[in-house]
Symmetry: D2
Subunit: 327 residues, 4 copies
């Protein structure tokens, strides 16, 4: 099968390679000529721009856009909507907000184009392990591109089968699903990331308590100096909290149990925010997912204005002065 | 009436004065001779120690201990349990954990002593405005000391009466209540402080959003530069969020809307913690009270180990590097 | 001064009356002829529709729209934008989302109209106590309508002045402020309501713990049966947690300390949600405000699907069966 | 090696079997004669009581107590402290509070006994997969019993090794660790469970949003009807949120995506509570772990008193009446 790939960064580049190595034909484009040349050396076809890329693909075309969510993706999709013709398909594999997909799919539909949104998980491990794909869009287009999705997905691997799935969509066991109409793929990916924030924060808080257990502020008889790397490791075997995020934590803690290469300023991306907003739209309580998001906001500030107002009130009603920080 | 006062700090000293100015007799003791001398100059009787204080009081005695919660209060109460005799009364007016009151009251009961715990609110304003008192202990002892409590309490003042209280305990409208047996006074005060944390945090978060609305990170058309001092002031009049804590916030913000005298490291005392623990004992969900407590813990750290572990996981799965802090 | 009032519900009707009683002229319109007739009997001028209302006002006109936020307000403002002429002014006094104000103000500006958004607090008490007003819009229009705002606002009343406000805008002490350009009024009101949710939830959780302290599940020696009405009352005097919301709680608890007229399904309106979204836009952590919102979502469900999934996981890993509810 | 096992319930029984099948000798005791007979048929030695069990073991003895945490464990350990002699060892494999271990270990030490606390994870799957063991106690005793721990633990299995562990304790990779002195085992297990609550709640909230996305309250164009079973399944392959808890969720959702066998009343055990309390002792913020605990408390109530007070306040300030529930 043939695919056009726009964007050859960490994600797009590896995905193109994984597709290519599965025997498919890739026409690639990105801003840097050097990067394109590198992929051409691997055997792919380079394009000098979007129209060249479209020209080099045989109809019905499929162009996978793998760019940072936001303006650059928006304008690339808009250009492709002009360049492509009836029967062609645009795929947005980035982290686009699902309501943008719904809007764009309508524009595509009016022009006879198919629009597919793909949420992908797997990070820098995806090239080797495969990417978990959550796909939204019209059935016919999604079915037609099945070989591409199959090539990207991890496949069954060594993971044990879930009982009772005999009559269910076998694609889920291969690591990809057709979640619903346009937008559904990115919506499911968005919630995936919301959950991810919650899982990460749960481990983070737990290890923080473990580490704090050696604090000289605790009664001496109740202090423990715990080996966080060994604890992470042992939980990987037979415990209820085993997970891939724990595997990664075990790696990081084995390297340096103090994590001294990290300051603790934690970025967040759109998905965590949109997850909380989606919950609010549905009137669904999400204390854990929201608290996980707020922990990241907080991590990027030294002190909040909120904290200062607390101090000011305490001073006003009780004459309390502030303690030195850290503690 | 006559009372012994042990502890003449910011709280105890002002309470002694308020009691004395209401026409009662005060025998006072604290570690510093100078401080005692100052109160003697006001007309009170000084004592050279706990036994001298007990000796200078006429049975049935009442000794009010107004010391920091913890060991010093514990040992003072223990000494008084030895020095006082049947019919006398020990009052702990500090911020003692209510389970300690329950334990101590049992010891007192065995010796024929009364034990009263008084939670007080009012801070540095109490001397003028009066102290809100939440009292635990046996009815006879509490009733006997009513003149003292009345002297300390704010009285009706200009505050409008609550309809429908005709047949209820009139003391509540004077600003003091007999909440229940020993421990009940401090328990009610503890929850009072738990609520206080929640109220403070609600204002703090709200003003933080107001302040952040001028951030250059927001779209220009949606930025506002708001006058926090005027907003606090206007909410004092006719709005649903008017309160004494808002009055204090309005004062602080009128002095300096940037609160630049405060770093934002916020202390917490036992009550906020015990409130969450009491909720856990009852299986009562308290998301707001707990989050308020945690905000204070967080305010005293630059970065948590939890934050670092988040960063470490993000690096491991996605190769993400940390952003610079603040933002 | 003269004002047109559209919408004569609980809020709009009382506001018209308060304006009228202050000596201003009111031309009123609402859907119900009967309601209009009632206001005409009070001395106001009735209008048969929006164009009649506009016709009955002398330029430069000011029309105050006091309708439920959403479509009805939107379409009324749109009609007025057509009917009014250069120099006139539309005022939206409802609970409109501030970004809608920003958009509408631009449309008005293009037509030479002024647009003012007013957030009001005070509920059903406002008619007597006055309404706290948070106003957004252009200075000239806001200044011109000052007599109307002054009539609606509570005025200084018996509330003690905040020290240090000598050189500040005196309107804040009268209970109204010009917060900023169009949208700023509703933005400040929105945050006001976000804070309100937080304050309410703090009291709610605290009283829940107090009530639960009599639970037979606690050790007998640690149980207290507390009088919630008296506790609410006493805290109104001299305590740090005194507030208007506490006054109202004291009323409700004095009527019935079991609150048995209420089931506990709690509505939320747009402002609480928008507050959390505004915080997310600013990357401001708001654990308390968000938890307060989620408590309301949760209050309207018997069980969440989330709860069921917890039970399902527990069954799968541990064979745990569910306990009976309420506990 | 030889071990005494007290308690043959779901956990103790399977552990005895796993130890026995690894070639060790087991002397077992539980209240039910029938149950003992069943284990005797498997080849183990039955005991008629604790003293018989002690008599049937060769010094230095090791008795593993596997009973519900609380009084029954406490009194059994106390009896064993009387029956055992210098050089013997008591092991508490239940879910005991770690401060109880610290206290008991001191008593044992005074008598020349060793005391070991073992936190175990693995649930009903442990018999087959092995139990993850977190062990506290003196090194010599822990080392002596290594064959027993090794028999219970899962071993390396097919789980990939964590890089950089060459010079670290190899036991962690076998699924057991010596965490520290007495109490450390249960402390680590306690935090394990605290994390478990957080992870579970993160998934639960996420799936709740996914399910709610089909709600008729949302705009029609933004609704999706998502297949939760397929989503859980696909996330097991290559996604960042893969975990054993997700595997279990996938099983449960494959059986019935509505989870209609569950009402959603969710039990909690001591560990989740103690985790929050340990965090409070350390001043460590744990918004997610606490919120997860509170979600369980909330799940067991129809409505909270807190909710009712919110409704009461809303009625008092705004005349608002309650909506019907479920919304």
């Amino acid at each position: 099968m043939q695919i056009g790939m726009v964007g050859l960064g960490r994600m797009g580049g590896n995905m193109a390679k994984r597709i290519y190595r599965a025997g498919h034909e890739c026409v690639v484009y990105t801003r840097s000529q050097e990067t394109i040349a590198e992929f051409v050396r691997e055997g792919m076809t380079g394009a000098s721009g979007l129209s060249d890329l479209v020209a080099k693909l045989t109809p019905p075309r499929a162009v996978w856009v793998m760019l940072p969510a936001g303006e650059i993706t928006e304008s690339t999709v808009a250009q492709l909507q002009e360049l492509l013709v009836e029967g062609d398909c645009v795929i947005d594999g980035g982290n686009t907000f699902y309501k943008d997909d719904i809007r764009r799919a309508q524009v595509c539909r009016d022009k006879g184009l198919a629009y597919i949104d793909v949420g992908t998980s797997g990070g820098i491990w995806g090239f080797e392990r495969g990417y978990c794909l959550m796909i939204g869009g019209e059935k016919t287009a999604v079915d037609r591109l099945d070989p591409i999705f199959k090539a990207l997905a991890p496949g069954r691997g060594a993971i044990e089968a879930t009982p009772g799935r005999a009559n269910r969509d076998p694609r889920a066991e291969q690591g990809y699903i057709h979640a619903g109409p346009a937008g559904a793929g990115h919506f499911v990916k968005m919630i995936h990331n919301g959950i991810e924030y919650g899982l990460m924060q749960a481990y983070a808080e737990g290890f923080d308590i473990l580490r704090g257990k050696s604090s000289p502020k605790l009664p001496e008889a109740e202090r423990f100096t715990l080996d966080l790397a060994d604890i992470a490791e042992v939980w990987r075997r037979g415990s209820v909290v085993s997970s891939w995020l724990l595997d990664l934590s075990a790696m990081a803690l084995a390297e340096d149990a103090n994590l001294s290469n990290f300051t603790g300023a934690v970025e967040d991306s759109g998905e965590g925010r949109w997850t909380v907003e989606a919950a609010i739209e549905e009137s669904t309580p999400v204390n854990v997912l929201a608290a996980s998001l707020f922990a990241r906001f907080r991590s990027r500030q030294d002190h909040t204005f909120a904290d200062k107002l607390l101090s000011a009130m305490r001073f006003k009603f009780g004459g309390h002065v502030e303690p030195p920080a850290s503690g």
